[in-house]
Amino acid sequence: MKRVVKVEIVTDSLEVENIIKLLEEVGVSGYSVIKDVTGKGHRGVRSGYEFADLFKNSYILVVGEENQMHKVVEAIKPIIKKFGGLCIVSDVILRIHRGDD
């Protein structure tokens, strides 16, 4: 049982690989990705495309210590600014995780 910060990111599916690289660099303990997310924002509707892996979003969830999560947000900012999406953070309690109690 531990207070941690939860970071939620929605962005272009094709940027997931790049974001993961940044997460690894910051050194997070893990992350989760939901691939098929559609939506709408400033760039218009993004509902996927039947003929190519385009115009679709993904959702990325990372939880970790507050200052590490702060670094995560700073690291991914340029990608979100360029390819769209948003990033929200909130406080949660980590109840079960390997080694924790």
């Binding site: 094709l14 218009g44 996927g48 495309y49 039947e50 003929f51 190519a52 892996d53 385009l54 115009f55 360029k82 390819f83």
Partner: protein, 331 residues
């Protein structure tokens, strides 16, 4: 114009399934071919025509006609996006003009396939090397489009992120280019014997798979027409007139290099067709400033149906007619 040609084209099952898809979509029916089944059909079609083309190319070998056709294909893939770009610049900003130019300079494999099918109902079969032309014509327009954008864009502040390596990868190694070229080489390598092995798969069920795919294309084309509401008055007519223009230039070149009518048709169809697979994929990274809700629906919802329904028989009619005109005009 021989109305019989259009009708002959229209009662052909694959084209009828395209109409069925359009009608279903207009009626707001819930008929849908869910993802990733459309991908199955499109991968199949690329594999099958690539392989067939390779086997045929091995039979003919590389003769003068082949070299002329392929050169003409590359030539058109380079000049079409250039003159298209300048037409578009009249009304659009550089980025969108460049992306649309790339769209119309590149090709649509399914339009090609439908033209081949149309010819077969007339008892004609284009040369296998036209598949090689298809493969060669997919990528150059992408590179040209990007060069044009970089030449004419106000100031390339995003230069730091831009890499030609990336562009080349997107242009020449995208899935559809690779699958059709690879299948062509496999057809070349395995020849008649390989053909016997795969014929029931790549030939016999081909028209059925095409029908299924065109059903889906009909559903999607109709659905995307709405996206063009905000596109203004310039682009919809462009999406019909420019393909016809490109086809006419292609027919002229085809006459110059003495292509057979069947090869002239598929050549002009390649030039008239617009890409809705390779180009959008390449534009995301290379020209992110261009608006995909312009160039995608133009290719998919206007140019594609136009070519399938009217374009193919029209270009064929022009080819048969110009046999009489060209000599007059030429001498």
């Amino acid at each position: 114009m021989d109305i019989g040609l259009i009708i002959n084209n229209l009662v052909h099952p694959p084209v009828l399934f395209f109409f069925l898809g359009m009608i279903a979509s207009f009626c707001k029916s819930d008929l849908k071919i869910p993802d990733p089944l459309p991908k199955l059909f499109s991968l199949y079609l690329l594999l099958a025509i690539g392989f067939h083309g390779g086997v045929e190319l091995r039979k003919t070998g590389i003769n003068q006609e082949v070299i002329f056709s392929l050169s003409a294909g590359i030539l058109m893939a380079i000049i079409v996006p250039i003159y298209t770009f300048f037409i578009l610049k009249i009304k659009l900003d550089t980025y969108n003009a460049a992306a649309i130019a790339a769209t119309y300079g590149s090709i649509s494999a399914v339009t090609f396939i439908t033209a081949v099918t149309f010819l077969q109902t007339l008892g004609l079969e284009p040369g296998g090397y036209m598949v090689a032309a298809l493969a060669l014509m997919e990528s150059p327009a992408i590179v040209i489009g990007i060069i044009l954008a970089r030449l004419f864009a106000p100031n390339n502040k995003e230069g730091n992120h831009f890499s030609w390596g990336m562009v080349m990868k997107e242009a020449f190694l995208n899935g559809s280019v690779l699958l059709i070229s690879g299948s062509l080489l496999i057809g070349l390598a395995s020849g008649e014997e390989g053909w016997d092995t795969l014929k029931p798969f790549t030939k016999d069920i081909f028209k059925g798979m095409l029908s299924f795919f065109l059903l889906d294309m009909g559903l999607l084309a109709a659905k995307r027409i709405g996206d063009l509401k905000s596109a203004g008055f310039f682009l919809p007519p462009f999406a019909i007139l420019v393909p016809v223009l490109n086809a006419c230039v292609a027919i002229f070149i085809a006459k110059l290099i003495h292509l057979q009518p069947e090869n002239a048709l598929v050549f002009s169809v390649l030039c008239a067709s617009a890409s809705y697979i390779a180009v959008p994929a390449a534009m995301r990274l290379s020209l992110p400033e261009a608006n995909p809700s312009l160039f995608v629906p133009m290719a998919l919802a206007i140019t594609f149906p136009f070519n399938i329904i009217v374009g193919i028989p029209l270009y064929y009619y022009l080819i048969m007619r110009t046999d009489q005109w060209i000599p007059l005009f030429w001498k």
